[in-house]
């Protein structure tokens, strides 16, 4: 048997209610921590503000994804129906003025590409799917999907200190404070 040296993930603290979590998040934010997160069974209105989170870059991805969709559809329809094989339907022109006929396709591809960028951009930004998370090592953490509210402050945060961080969490109402160590 060799001694195993486990890496510390950080502190996990439980809070009594959504509003307690919200107020605690504001204090953790004001204490200047960067690498930490809140865990709740359901979305809490305004928690992003209480955590001091910056606006996501995702809307920009989606905007350009949408534009790509519009352009793709237009190019596809215009090239096939005007340039390569001019299609005359009911004596309507086969030139740029047949563009209204392409609008439904342009609309659909804008939506489709935007939808794809939302989904895959989001998965990329939140780094999902993943097989495991260090917090799963905690015995109490599974309650985050049921009836408990948690804050976890990671050890890799520059402000992290084994004693002071624990004190901070307990001073802002944290209970069942636990030092989570990563599993092998």
């Amino acid at each position: 048997m060799s001694t195993t040296r486990k890496r510390v993930y950080g502190y996990l603290a439980e809070f009594k209610s959504a509003s307690a979590l919200y107020k605690a998040a504001e204090k953790v934010r004001d204490a200047g921590f960067r690498k930490w997160d809140c865990y709740s069974p359901y979305p809490i209105h305004g928690l992003d503000g209480a955590m001091g989170m910056k606006r996501s870059i995702l809307p920009w991805f989606v905007f350009f994804g949408g534009i790509t969709g519009t352009a793709t559809a237009f190019t596809l329809a215009y090239t096939t129906q005007v340039v390569i094989y001019p299609t005359v339907v009911q004596a309507k022109p086969a030139n740029i003025f047949s563009v209204p006929a392409f609008f439904p396709v342009m609309f659909e591809l804008t939506i489709l590409f935007s939808g794809f960028t939302v989904l895959f951009g989001l998965l990329g930004l939140i780094q999902l799917p993943r097989l495991n998370h260090p917090l799963f090592a905690s015995k109490q953490f599974h309650r985050a999907t049921d009836d408990a509210f948690f804050i976890a402050i990671e050890a890799r945060d520059p402000k992290f200190s084994p004693n002071q961080t624990k004190e901070l969490l307990s001073s802002i109402g944290g209970e069942n404070i636990e030092l989570v160590e990563e599993e092998d």
């Binding site: 504001e26 503000g49 001091g52 606006r55 809307p59 905007f63 009911q90 209204p100 006929a101 609008f103």
Partner: protein, 436 residues
């Protein structure tokens, strides 16, 4: 973040009232312009040379219906807010009601359209009906079979009955709802009774609203060319109406806020929601107006295409293409930004811009018909059928300024009458602490 939580201590117990001296100059000026303009307009509509009588009838119709859509939209937002049991907008709801309350007044500007002297230049179907000696139906049977088939809907007694109903019906609705709301402001025991009452009465009266926006559009606008019809006409006018009344609401709220009113009860969050509605209806307008064009363009049926044929002739075509970009593409891209919608000033600029586009939209709805119809009715007076009658443009501006001044007057009058927000509404705190 962590902004001040609004409590009942922040709510003005006797309401937040506009200082009358602040707007008295603007109000007086608007009233004087409207009064003089109305007198001049009556002269132009009934006494002036036949050429001005004919062209000015269209100017009047354009201005009348433009401002009517804004008032109808005010009724719509009031009804929708009540019926959807909303809490977010309680602190701006009074502005919805104030805008809606201009409806009875704005409808009065449609009175000239009830006179045959004015109708003869606008509605050719009425001329054909009036040619009849004896039975109208019998006359139509020989004169115009299309009108014979449409007789059950397009006949003069029913037309007058409908128009009176549109004027009276929605007026009673909005007057009643506004009274219910403002009575709460001074009630020592406000309670929730009025809230539930407003919600209940907004359900079936929403039908009156829907009929009004749809069929005023049919009776005043679609009737300009009795051969033409579009099944999307009502919803098309509704989309512009809801969009631009929201623009007016945003402008009014931003102005009140800049004057130090609506303090504590409105924040960037309210403007964010109103901005989102502005954005949503920009998209809805585009969706509906394109659908209308698309169905007509694709099918290519003679009776339906006339509308777009007229508007794709000459300079009207440039304006129509500009509308696609100016009324949809540009505001769509700009309004995507969240920060802009939370900023009352930036959002006001977009709201004002949207209103300018609404003017263009309604100009293109009513005015291109003028050169065609008048050339058809009396080529000797108005010239042969042509895209536009030279010089008639000045009448459009006069009518617009006249009715616009009246609109501003009645809106300011309504704003000054009561508290600027329902200060004793049970949902006022919920609304004040809005976060979205």
């Amino acid at each position: 973040m962590g902004h001040h939580h609004v409590t009942s201590a922040d709510i003005a117990i006797n309401g937040d009232h506009l200082d009358p001296s602040k707007v008295s100059k603007v109000k007086t000026a608007a009233m004087v312009i409207a009064a003089i303009g109305t007198l001049v307009s009556i002269y132009l509509l009934f006494v002036g040379s036949e050429k001005t009588r004919g062209t000015y009838a269209y100017s009047w119709l354009f201005a009348f219906y433009f401002f009517l859509t804004l008032s109808i939209g005010g009724c719509f937002w009031t009804l929708l807010h009540n019926v959807s049991n909303s809490g977010w907008g309680t602190s701006v709801r009074r502005t919805f009601e104030n805008l809606g309350s201009t409806y009875p007044w704005m409808f009065l500007f449609g009175i000239p359209l009830l006179f045959p002297q004015v109708q003869q230049y606008l509605y050719e179907w009425m001329n054909i009906h009036r040619e009849a000696h004896g039975s109208v139906k019998e006359h139509l049977h020989h004169a115009d079979h299309l009108l014979y088939n449409k007789y059950w809907f397009m006949n003069l007694p029913f037309w007058y009955a409908r128009v009176i109903f549109w004027g009276v019906g929605l007026s009673l609705v909005i007057i009643g709802l506004r009274k219910l709301s403002t009575a709460q402001d001074t009630d020592p025991n406000p309670g929730t009774a009025r809230l539930f009452k407003a919600r209940f009465h907004s359900t079936y009266t929403l039908i009156i609203f829907a009929l009004t926006i749809t069929f005023t559009g049919f009776d005043f606008m679609m009737g300009l060319d009795y051969k033409w019809f579009s099944t999307m006409w009502g919803v098309y006018l509704f989309s512009g109406s809801a969009l631009n009344s929201m623009a007016v609401i945003i402008l009014v709220c931003a102005w009140l806020k800049s004057q130090g009113h609506l303090k504590h009860v409105t924040t960037g969050e309210h403007f964010h929601i109103m901005g989102k509605l502005l954005f949503a209806f920009t998209v809805f307008w585009a969706y509906i107006s394109f659908s209308q064009f698309f169905l007509i363009w694709y099918a290519g049926i003679t009776e339906e295409t006339s509308y777009f044929l007229i508007r794709n002739t000459g300079n009207w075509n440039t304006a129509m293409i500009f509308l696609v970009f100016g009324h949809f593409v540009f505001p769509f891209v700009i309004l995507l930004q969240a920060w802009l919608k939370k900023n009352p000033k930036a959002l006001s600029i977009m709201a004002a811009y949207t209103l300018v586009m609404h003017v263009l939209d309604h100009y293109l709805i009513s005015i291109p018909e003028r050169g065609i119809s008048l050339g058809n009715i009396k080529p000797g007076v108005f010239g042969e059928i042509q895209p536009a009658i030279p010089g008639a443009f000045w009448g459009d501006i006069l009518a617009f300024v006249t009715i616009g001044s009246a609109f501003i007057f009645f809106l300011l009058r309504a704003i000054g009458q009561h508290s600027l927000y329902p200060n004793r509404d049970p949902r006022i705190l919920e609304s004040a602490n809005l976060s979205n």
